[in-house]
């Protein structure tokens, strides 16, 4: 896995959020990006996950140097989990199945993968439940299940425990630990919790003045 970020710049309303930001993610494991609220961590992740466009600078994904803005094949090798999970107005199962369905997978494959992902995040017993009746912690776990069922090469987690209780925070941290053990994805997550960064991170980075510092 290689994600080569070079000279990223992003400005919102004349305020510079990312300022010539560069970093090379070239190891397998969990990278944790720390920094106070508003320092640009989320913007960095959203740009890397192709949810937003940078004003200038480049990102070379894997071994390619050229990236097209709407390269759906490349986009599907990355997944981002947002701090607040947008839940589709349907069951837990169908929420997790969505990403596989739009990739055109057969329903038997979808069923197997979704059930495995839901068991992995501890939502197995809630498969048929309406997703909007889940607690906020369970909703966040649903968001993670929805991402990891796609087996992305790079999984971006933007403040995955920012708005949930301690119990669910522990569950999510153990999910991240289990994913790390499986070693299928490189995880790049943001947090403003230093202790959490120590607990789950292999590589700790700090964002300051719109740049990444090691």
């Amino acid at each position: 896995m290689k994600l080569d970020v070079s000279h990223l710049t992003k400005t919102y309303d004349k305020k510079t959020i990312l300022n010539d930001c560069s970093y090379v993610f070239d190891k397998t494991g969990t990278y944790v990006l720390m920094g106070p609220n508003g320092c640009g961590k989320s913007t960095f992740l959203r740009i890397c996950a192709m949810l937003e466009r940078q004003d200038s600078g480049d990102i070379a994904y894997f071994d390619n140097s050229t990236v097209l803005a709407n390269d759906i094949t490349l986009k599907r090798r990355l997944t981002l989990v947002l701090p607040r999970t947008g839940v589709f107005n349907t069951t837990v199962f169908k929420n997790v199945a969505y990403g596989l369905k739009i990739r055109g997978l057969h329903h038997t494959v979808i069923e197997r993968k979704v059930n495995a992902a839901l068991d992995f995040v501890g939502l197995g017993p809630k498969t048929g439940q309406h997703a909007r009746t889940l607690s906020s912690g369970e909703t966040q776990r649903l968001g993670i299940a929805r991402a990891l069922v796609l087996e992305p090469e790079v999984l971006f987690l933007d403040e995955p425990t920012a708005s949930i209780d301690e119990e669910n925070t522990q569950i999510i941290e153990s999910i991240i630990g289990a994913m790390k053990k499986e070693g299928r994805s490189t995880i790049i997550m943001t947090t403003h919790d230093r202790e959490q960064a120590t607990r789950v991170g292999d590589f700790q980075l700090v964002m300051r003045n719109g740049r990444i510092e090691t």
């Binding site: 997944t79 607040r84 839940v87 589709f88 107005n89 969505y98 739009i102 309406h130 991402a147 796609l150």
Partner: protein, 234 residues
Amino acid sequence: MDSITQGFIRAFELIFHLNAELFGIILLSLKVSGLALVIATLAGLPLGAMLGLKRFPGRNLAISAVNTLMGLPPVVVGLFVYLILSRKGPLGFLGLLYSPTAMIIAQSILAIPIVTALCHSAIVNVDPLIRQASRTLGATQRQETLAIIHEARYGIISAIVAAFGRVMAEVGSILIVGGNIAGYTRVMTTTIALETDKGNFELALALGIILLLLSFIVNAVLHAIQRKGMVATQ
């Protein structure tokens, strides 16, 4: 008072004896309004989705225009369609005036802004996180649009049902362009108007009862859909 009671009794007799004239009128009403609704949905849903999802110059003006057109006076639509389809009008050569097709055109014109405006409203009210979620999960632009439309499905169905209610109860425009010809363009609302004028209240009342019943069914369906949508979003 007696004549009203007698009218109701005779009206129920017509309904329960499956009067052929009565059911012919009901079927034509459903056919005209149903087809107008299909046309309005085929045009209004994509238009509403475009207004809700795309950003383009003049979008706000277009939204205001569609909202204004929701209140189009039916007689004005009738007059407009009449002028277009009359012998000297630009489409007069088609010979459509005083035909069910002319009535479908008029009702479609009335229903399109309703479907468009209410679909737009349903789509813009979808949580922006849904768009982001489908995007982060690898949806193409088309799949993202479909995901949003799917989320707005209860609002969209409500829009279609509301438009059906409006066209079924409409009389002004179809009277002008249909001409109220017996057995050809005579529908429920125009028959009620005509028979009331003639003092023949039995048929008018029978159709009034059926129209009320249809309106009740439409509203019950609408209410059930809205309740389902509310339960689903809780």
